[in-house]
Amino acid sequence: MTRAINLAPLLLAATAAAQEMPGMPSATAPSPGVLIPRLQGRVWLFEDGQTLIEESVRLEYGLARDLSISAELPIYQGFFDAPRPSDGDIGFGDMDLLLELRILREDLNAIDTVRASLFAGAELPTASGGFAEPTLNPCFGGVFSSITGRHGFDVSGRFTFNTGEGMASPLFLTDLGDDFANLDAGYAYRIHPEAYGEERVAAWYLTVELNSVWTTGDNHEILVSPGLLIEAPTYAIELGVGIPLSMEVDPAPQVEFAFLAGVRLLF
């Protein structure tokens, strides 16, 4: 099973593809017929110097005004001690397939808006190379986003039914075999421009997220994730780090630090 998309320390988009936190869902989606690819790379540093490089490819497509579909496939390269995948080995994680429905869009003035979406789908059993357990795991959740002037707020929750047995040598908390919930909250502050003008400029945001995972096996993981988001009319760049606040993940290794870099494109 793959690590859930919003577990990372640091990104998703209603039609606006508006400002999106780097590491958690936002209540945004592509316009009908619009495809938004997202490439994201993460480096996970675990205890004992073990390292995992994760590269994920995500495609999101607008099916209708308020309905979109997305697929995300993570690719892993591990640098571990036995019995985990040996140095340099490469494998896939489970593909995340979601249908997202916007249930609220209230545009308050030129800039301010509130939006909410529900999503449901499954992790598909595409994992290979010992990086995750290939299982079909249904999931559902919701996300609320609000933009007020220079301030953006997001809150999301997702529950995943784990149908696997759990990995003998799990990498992540979500590989233990328990059902789990992702609970995330994020805040973005636009540092540039102070106010929008008539010219086209990229907007720069400082972001901070609280990313957490809670399992039915009484394990949990909470990370605080500061980041930087640069958003232009046709692309967005995101950078971030993940710092553990609280971890009960035994027997999975503890994450000591995580880095994230990503890019989103609008076609």
């Binding site: 606006a16 429905l101 529900l118 559902f140 929008y196 400029v201 609008l266």
Partner: protein, 115 residues
């Protein structure tokens, strides 16, 4: 495997119920002030909810799909989209409102002339 089927069926039912109650754009075309049909000339569309630079591309992409509308220019500061109507195509207010809604925002008013 039985558990997967039960869970999947529950999720499909929940999503189906939500689809049936999907809200339409906040402003219906009848509530939007401005002409029902746009003759050749310049107009200013007052749009709400354009909160980021990517909104510009979304709005422009959807508006340029309407026959007769050219050169949309977004002014995020005021929530204006300036457009030119040409070629005698006479796009309707409904078509413009739907394009703005498809791009993820709300058309509030159509003003004649460019502000």
């Amino acid at each position: 495997m039985h558990r997967i089927h039960v869970i999947t069926a529950a999720l499909c039912c929940a999503l189906g119920a939500s689809c049936a109650s999907t809200p339409r754009p906040t402003s219906s075309p009848a509530a939007i002030s401005g002409p029902n049909t746009l003759t050749d000339g310049r107009y200013t569309l007052v749009v709400h909810g354009m909160s980021c630079p990517k909104c510009i591309s979304n709005v422009e992409m959807q508006l340029t799909r309407i026959s007769g509308i050219t050169s949309p220019i977004v002014d995020m500061k005021n929530g204006f989209v300036r457009v030119e109507v040409s070629g005698g195509k006479s796009p309707t207010k409904d078509a413009i409102a739907n394009a703005i809604a498809d791009s993820g925002f709300t058309l509030v008013e159509i003003r004649g002339g460019v502000e």
